[in-house]
């Protein structure tokens, strides 16, 4: 191996390391410090935390705060974790399947309905849901206060977002692949589920990550559509510690940190699945 060779690669590597170090530093300040702040508050006593200052706790009680948060109201947080997880998994599954199907047809098939459908998709993002009529409807369908009713609501409210995402990315898959599958005798649903859907993996992962977090963290919808102690979801548990007149910040932040863990796991797990070059080698052109 020659001299230029090594020096070039070394310079390149050095540049990359410096870039990485700068990135770590900057993100450290911008993104990590605020969480350090949260962690500090979660470690304090109530009086200590009430000033919300960026200071060292006078007394470390992170663990006992966490325990307190979990134990409060008969281990309500655990139930909330369970409910939120069920809702999230079911809704995200539905969303991914249904939205990708719509996005696929919407991108592939140009028809005079597209204008209307696109508008409806946008409308889903633009119009805030009407709470009271929805409750009446859910009551009629006997879905009010049920987890599956909640799942349907979450799907309906988040469909637009997912459809938009899918529609955009279907465009990156060569149409020749649909054609090849058609020639191979695939029915439309086979073409979709066996050829297109696997190639949409990067968007699907994005969808799963973004939507599961949104649904897991949803506060307003469960508040209205899923009342009842047995139906509590994670964001509602924050209200155990925050009220109009008084907030137990140490416990609130402990709770915030605890309920952030599942989405974090989802992210860390799925983030690795966004891989480049899904369609490499498919066609020449």
């Amino acid at each position: 191996m020659s001299q230029t060779h090594t020096t070039f690669r070394a310079a390149e590597a050095r540049r990359r390391w410096i870039g990485g170090a700068v990135a770590i530093l900057v993100t450290g300040v911008v993104f990590v410090l605020p969480f350090l702040f949260a962690l500090l508050q979660a470690s304090k006593t109530q009086a200590d935390a009430s000033t919300l200052s960026f200071s060292w706790p006078t007394e470390w009680q992170l663990w006992s705060n966490l325990v307190a948060v979990i134990q409060v109201r008969d281990y309500q947080l655990l139930l909330a974790f369970f409910n939120s997880t069920v809702i999230t998994v079911a809704s995200v599954t539905g969303l991914v399947v249904f939205a990708s199907m719509v996005g696929y047809i919407l991108q592939r098939r140009q028809s005079r309905w597209n204008g209307l459908i696109n508008f409806l998709v946008l409308a889903g993002l633009m119009i805030p849901p009407a709470v009271v009529p929805t409750i009446w409807l859910l009551q009629q369908l006997e879905l009010f206060k049920t987890l599956h009713g909640m799942v349907l609501i979450e799907i309906a409210y988040n469909l637009s977002f997912s459809i938009l995402l899918y529609r955009a990315f279907v465009a990156t898959i060569p149409r020749e692949l649909d054609e090849a599958a058609r020639m191979d005798g695939a029915k439309p649903w086979q073409t979709f589920f066996r050829v297109i859907f696997p190639l949409l993996k990067p968007v699907t992962v994005t969808n799963i990550v973004v939507q599961s977090i949104a649904i897991f963290n949803d506060f307003v919808n469960p508040l209205y559509y899923l009342p009842g102690k047995d139906n509590v979801t994670v964001q509602l548990t924050l209200y155990n510690f925050q009220s109009q007149f008084e907030t137990q910040y140490n416990l609130l932040f402990s709770n915030v940190l605890l309920v952030t863990i599942p989405p974090l796991i989802v992210f860390v797990f799925f983030n690795r699945q966004i891989v480049a070059g899904m369609t490499a080698g498919a066609v020449k052109g």
């Binding site: 410090l33 919300l52 973004v210």
Partner: protein, 303 residues
């Protein structure tokens, strides 16, 4: 195509539908369509009726367009409109720019890529409430970490959330901080779907890193860009969660946006009025978004 031409094609088309299985059948719309129509569309249309009533949830009383008239008389509506546009456009623009820049960085071969991706996405994981409290504290005029830090280097930091003209921009920054992670993952997915052949061709053609970005990455991640713009602009024009948790529209009304004005009406129990406000806001956003997305999608077909 002229009408006559359409007519001539008609019988052939009919014959075809009889036998050819459409490769892209509308039946794929059914599951999503049914859920959307039942759970969203029906209640929404029902609620539009209430925009024309005085509605306490217990009674409704038809009053025609009175609510709309009242809505346009809201004292701080104009300022709210201006704020809405500032908020929507600037958060969306910043998310697009920063999201793309971060995505490019995070798809390149830098060390600690996994860590960086996670860190940037971290704020997305936290609820608005948590983010609100954290930043309200950090931006506290005397005790907040930001001003305390500034003080050590001799700068007298402003009241980030208590100075009327500044509050909105402070919230904008936090909103971008919280939302840029989503834009970034969408862009990462977009960049990941660009075949590497094009970069190879460009490298041979003599494109520098910057040129590769402008001439390949940017145009070919258009689908992602369009999605991010659409989502973040609608989101920016509509949301108020963060404004609500951080300033409540204040100080006074200085950081109110249309959505928070509507929310306050709703909270006050003016259900008909707030529904009318929602209709107005919806039309307003549609006025911006429909032409914009039509334009963006038309150009997309060309790729």
């Amino acid at each position: 195509m002229s009408d006559a031409a359409l007519d001539r094609q008609e019988p052939a088309a009919r014959r075809r539908t009889a036998r050819r299985r459409v490769p892209y059948p509308y039946t794929f719309y059914i599951p999503a369509g049914v859920i959307y129509a039942v759970m969203f569309l029906v209640p929404t249309i029902a609620s539009f009726y209430f925009a024309l009533t005085r509605w306490t949830l217990f009674d409704s009383h038809f009053i025609g367009f009175g609510n709309f008239v009242q809505f346009f008389r809201e004292p701080f509506l104009v300022q709210g409109l201006v704020n809405t546009l500032i908020f929507g456009i600037s958060t969306s623009a910043l998310k697009v720019v920063l999201g793309l820049a971060l995505a490019v960085l995070l798809t390149s071969r830098i060390p600690a890529r996994g860590y960086l991706r996670a860190v940037i996405f971290f704020p997305v994981l936290v609820s608005f409430i948590g983010v609100g409290i954290i930043f309200v504290s950090l931006m506290h005029p005397t005790r907040g970490a930001i001003n305390v830090t500034l003080e050590t280097i001799g700068i007298d930091g402003p009241g980030w959330l208590t100075t009327p003209w500044l509050a909105l921009y402070s919230v904008i920054i936090v909103d971008v901080w919280k939302g840029v992670g989503i834009a970034t993952v969408i862009f990462i997915a977009g960049i990941a779907s660009i075949p590497s052949d094009y970069y190879e061709a460009a490298r041979i053609d003599g494109a520098t890193k910057a040129q590769q970005f402008w001439r390949i990455t940017l145009p070919l991640s258009r689908p992602a860009t369009v999605t991010v713009i659409t989502l973040s602009l609608i989101g920016g024009l509509r949301t108020f969660d963060l404004i609500w948790t951080m300033t409540g529209g204040g100080p006074g009304f200085s950081s109110d946006v249309v959505a928070s004005i509507i929310y306050k009406q709703y909270q006050s129990g003016f259900y008909g009025l707030s529904t009318a406000g929602n209709v107005v806001l919806f039309l307003l956003i549609a006025l911006v978004m429909v032409p914009l997305t039509t334009w963006m999608n038309r150009r997309e077909i060309d790729i």
